[in-house]
């Protein structure tokens, strides 16, 4: 027979369990969207404004992973229950992901209505998923070193810049990879002319190489390099009180696109919500907020930026026409050979 004391104790225990269990029951009713996103200023704006507003409107919670690299984590998670619902990555990684069946190969205006308003580059055949922003890769240079503003990619090869020009470790940086293809276009028959690109790369030695863009910004700011390959936002963000003697130049041969691409994982359990998130990120007000925070060019044609951003970013069909989109599928398929070749060229 159960004594009174025992019964009371059991009752208290049950009550305690129920209290502990309650939030998780509530939690199960709200959907969770698992996304990847950048850190830095972008991450601050996302966490402070963009994501809370999304959670409120779509009555969900968003769990955002900012710890790069994302793709290896997606690779080891189950395809039926992937670690992310939406993958935010640059275009070359999205192409790596699609080859392994980790992301969808096409997203249309049917799933994401705002796609109807994006510039063609955002959903071109060079993109898997949807581009929400782009940067332009061109040349960053010091304005206090007596250099004339570069007008061509060939200006980086100026002998005066020996040892003070900057580039990337091509195997680990997509700006370096895009620049290599651009060398093929400028010095050879086109973006896929690797022989011409290798020759041109050899001619850029001695060159200082870094593995990520933040490092290139640092080298430009410290004067360690006088001219280097960089994306426009990496230069424009030093404005106002942070003004530095650096500027960005768009070479006449065209600028390379550094796209911020969103894509949905095929195994996502909350696909509708995932598409809703992409649609939300393409809304003109959200696009304006983020574009002006980090100097990214919005993919949505209808966005009206403040004058100072509008003057510099790619916000008209004419300006957007200067964007060159590399064929990452082609590049990734040859990647091992290219990595080995450029490593040998740049070593020593």
């Amino acid at each position: 027979m159960i004594s009174r004391r025992k019964a009371l104790r059991a009752g208290a225990g049950l009550a305690a369990l129920a209290t502990v269990g309650a939030p998780s029951i509530l939690h199960a009713q709200t959907k969770t969207l698992k996304i990847t996103t950048w850190g830095g200023k972008w991450g601050e704006v996302m966490k402070a404004t963009v994501l809370p507003a999304f959670e409120k409107e779509f009555k969900c919670t968003v769990s955002a992973d900012q710890a790069f690299p994302f793709l290896p984590k997606l690779q080891v998670s189950s395809k039926n229950d992937p670690i992310y619902d939406v993958l935010h990555a640059n275009s070359n990684e999205q192409w790596n992901a699609v080859v392994e069946g980790l992301v969808m190969d096409k997203i249309t205006a049917k799933e994401v209505p705002n796609i109807a308003d994006v510039y063609p580059y955002a959903v071109s055949d060079k993109i898997v998923g949807v581009t929400i922003f782009t940067s332009a890769i061109g040349l960053g240079y010091r304005t206090d070193k007596g250099l004339t503003k570069p007008t061509s990619w060939k200006d980086l090869a100026d002998p005066k810049l020996a040892g003070s020009r900057g580039g990337y470790l091509i195997p680990v940086n997509s700006l370096g990879q895009a620049h290599l293809m651009m060398l093929g276009k400028v010095y050879g028959k086109g973006l896929t002319d690797l022989d011409a690109a290798y020759k041109a790369l050899e001619a850029l030695k001695p060159i200082k190489l870094v593995d990520f863009t933040g490092q290139m910004e640092k080298m430009l700011l410290s004067g360690e390099v006088s001219m280097g390959v960089i994306h426009d936002s990496g230069v424009y963000r030093y404005e106002g009180p942070n003004m530095q003697p650096v500027d960005f130049a768009s070479p006449s041969e065209g600028v390379l696109a550094l796209e911020q691409v969103l894509n949905v994982t095929p195994g996502s359990k909350v696909k509708e919500l995932a598409f809703g998130y992409i649609d939300y990120m393409l809304r003109p007000d959200v696009q304006k907020l983020l574009a002006e925070a980090v100097w990214y060019s919005p993919a949505n044609k209808k966005v009206k930026l403040a004058a100072k951003y509008d003057a510099k970013l790619l916000t008209t069909p004419e300006k957007v026409a200067a964007l060159i989109q590399p064929d990452w599928k082609w590049y990734n398929a040859r990647r091992e050979d290219i990595d080995a070749r450029v490593t040998k060229i740049l070593k020593g």
Binding site: P69, L71, P72, Q75, V76, S77, S78, K79, N96, E100, G163, S164, L169, P171, V172, N173, K208, L209, D211, S222, G223, E224, R335, E336, D337, D339, A340, R341, T343, K344, L346, K347, G348
Partner: protein, 291 residues
């Protein structure tokens, strides 16, 4: 239950360490080794098959970079170890023989202090000192001693300087313990029997401190061949080590299987070197194995 069947209290104390070792070394290493023999991830990709192609890729090295990467990893490890030993030994000897407790504590603090700062921070500090617009080059140019900056970093030299700075404390701490336990009277006896200072050191103290040299060198060697942050920040394009290649394979080439193979190869090669080193030192010390 009998008392004899009960595990000893020591076993219980060792259990957490053992569990950690199994969970965070044996198990991951086994998974990595298994992965290195697959074409893809067998858990998520049903088409993944068993293959030795990752090892073949390394062994035949048609790309011509992998053997060089292995060699430069080992070279950087060896030079870092030797330099750390040359810097660390006199310091450790001085510390071990110091009479003043306060002096000993102060030197110990000085040795340990750099370890209180993260490796990334220390490496960045070296960058501001050694880069072309860094402290050394700017000063020398200002004084008119040189016209062009000296190539102090983005090469093996800079990498080794930073690695030595990071790993000398490991060498010193290991050696101090061993040298401190050597009976000073043995050296005094040798000297009273007519040996000079140098001879007494070479024939008495040095052989007795071999176990410390072995342990310290192995520690520094293991740490420096597996270093990733320092070579990638200080080395520029001149330095490509296996840990950098492994990170590249996982993080940007998305080929964890090849990365696994590289990891296994690095471990096997370093094990072989450690065994050989142990043998040689044991022979020098009079035929006993020491580790």
């Amino acid at each position: 239950m009998t008392t004899a069947a009960r595990p000893s209290p020591i076993a219980w104390l060792i259990a957490p360490a053992g569990l950690l070792f199994v969970l965070f070394f044996v198990l991951p290493f086994a998974v990595m080794t298994a992965m290195s023999f697959y074409s893809g991830n067998p858990v998520t990709n049903p088409n993944a098959f068993l293959t030795t192609r990752h090892y073949e890729r390394f062994i035949f090295d048609t790309a011509g970079i992998f053997h060089e990467a292995l060699w430069s990893t080992l070279r950087i490890g060896l030079i870092t170890t030797v330099v750390s030993l040359l810097i660390g030994y006199p310091l450790a000897h001085w510390m071990a023989r110091m009479q003043s407790r306060l002096g000993h504590a102060l030197v110990l603090m000085a040795v340990i202090a750099p370890m209180l700062t993260g490796i990334v921070v220390r490496t960045f500090a070296w960058m501001t000192i050694l880069q072309d617009k860094g402290v050394i080059n700017t000063t020398l140019i200002q004084w008119g001693l040189i016209e062009k900056p000296l190539p102090l970093m983005y090469n093996e030299f800079g990498t080794i300087v930073a690695l030595v700075h990071i790993y000398v404390p490991f060498m010193v701490l290991t050696l101090t313990g061993v040298i401190g336990r050597i009976d000073e009277r043995l050296e005094q006896a040798a000297r009273s029997l007519g040996a000079g200072r140098l001879r007494a050191f070479v024939e008495v103290t040095l052989p007795l401190s071999l176990p410390g040299i072995l342990a310290g060198s192995l520690l520094v060697f293991a740490l420096s061949i597996s270093a990733y942050v320092t070579p990638s920040l200080m080395g520029g394009t001149d330095v490509l080590t296996l840990p950098m290649l492994i990170a590249q394979q996982v993080g940007t080439s998305f080929n964890p299987n090849f990365a696994g193979a590289l990891g296994v190869i690095l471990l096997l090669v370093s094990l072989a070197i450690v065994v050989a080193y142990n043998r040689i030192l044991a022979r020098l010390a009079g035929g006993q194995g020491m580790a």
